[in-house]
Symmetry: C2
Subunit: 304 residues, 2 copies
Amino acid sequence: MTLLVAGWVAIDEIETPFAKVEDSLGGSATCAAMAAALFTDVRLLAAVGEDFPAHHRRTLESVARLDLGGLTVEGPRTSRWGGRYHYDLNTRDTLYTELGVNAAWRPELPAGWEDSTTAFLAAGDPLMQRVLMGALPGAKATMVDTIKFYIDGMPGELRETMGAADFVTVNESEAREIAGTPSIAKAARALLAGGPKGVIVKLGEYGAAFVSESDYFVAPGYPLEEVVDPTGAGDAFAGGFLGYLDSVPAITPAEIRKAVIYGSTVASFDVEGFGPSRLLTLTRAEVEARYGEFRRLTHFEAGE
Amino acid sequence: MTLLVAGWVAIDEIETPFAKVEDSLGGSATCAAMAAALFTDVRLLAAVGEDFPAHHRRTLESVARLDLGGLTVEGPRTSRWGGRYHYDLNTRDTLYTELGVNAAWRPELPAGWEDSTTAFLAAGDPLMQRVLMGALPGAKATMVDTIKFYIDGMPGELRETMGAADFVTVNESEAREIAGTPSIAKAARALLAGGPKGVIVKLGEYGAAFVSESDYFVAPGYPLEEVVDPTGAGDAFAGGFLGYLDSVPAITPAEIRKAVIYGSTVASFDVEGFGPSRLLTLTRAEVEARYGEFRRLTHFEAGE
């Protein structure tokens, strides 16, 4: 079983009310790949620039079960993102986005990677996402994420791509924008009508909801007392979710519920450190312990 | 077993993006009492004015298990509140608050009501809340709610009142303001340190969290496709929560978790109609059915 993660590897500059870091290893594919590698073998497909620091490459190389055969140098500049979080850490301003090599990147699947059993297409050009899904006809599950840039700029392409995926993951505000309704339940149903088998609406600190034709499941946010940096939490969720599903023999409704909790668990660790730093030291035993805490957080006895 | 509910009975004017109602039966005690009466016998202690419409009194009289022996006329004007909800129904502007009779109301317990087994002190003067709790020394559980007006205006009195209560219920934004921290978990712990046995943080459409020295429990929001009017949802939650606890032989951690779900269930029905209208037709069987749905929404299998 092998999960393909395609998307951005970038360099972030992050400012929170409490601290500031420059030159942080970032990008949607980075966090997702690190999170997924806790559960299964992962292949990373992404482009960086000639300026990509050697220490960031060494960090990626240090991740067990992560194959960097698809991490290529495609031009002078690595993509860069700068963001500043507000006091409650729930909202942020993007200070800048430099596309760098990702402005013109056309991902190509390395030889032999056609046998990837699952694929996560992190936020990116929806046409490219669809091309990659098409190159993996045998995959048992594909998942697509997106950002406001593509919702606004390429709504038709995005709709087609989401319809071709097994799972779609969006933020609450994105779901509302795409579906044109303030109700999360209604927005998820509208997205579902477009073709995917399941829709995950990420609710930030309030958790996540999974919606399919026959199921509705809500995972709470883990009650952290200290959040250091929410950057990458959504991608860590996606990596944990699909990484877990890649590792099981059959994707059943019960396994999907467990995958939502594994995704929530990994995301809750991710926000405990700047960038993906906490994921680098995270162990499967720590994940299992917190998974159990999620059960204690939400389970209750039957009624009358 | 009898629950005392003390607070406001008022007349509301509510505007949502979809409709507007004037002369709606409102007030924190109204919704809480109606919700609680689904589970136990309820005594309503509140003041109205000479202008209180006969049809609203008849509505209250129609609620089974609700004793109006403490609903007294205390002056010319009933309290009035006007509010307008924004597009997503999560935020609202208060257009006006007319204190009316509640400006000078000093609640007095009717003879014989000292044997109430539980009490909900809906948002009001914290000193009055404490006086009422003191008049019920044998109560097995008391719960206090508040609003920004008292958090800002009487912080010392409020702290003392909350410390004397068994349960405290606050909105997320109120919890953050009282505790001075953006973390819900930290804010709840800070409130708990003040003396109550349990703190409920209401998260609006995202549900509610219950925190005690030994427990942390999160109930999700019920995924409604149509919300008509969120007014009174927090009070309906409180009524369902404490009404259920009043009805059980012993208040255990497991019963508290069930009470949080019963509160969430009743609140989810409350928002399906304007004011407390949906509560008037709600049956215990409907409540039990949705309680079961909450289990299906949140339960999942153990991990590895």
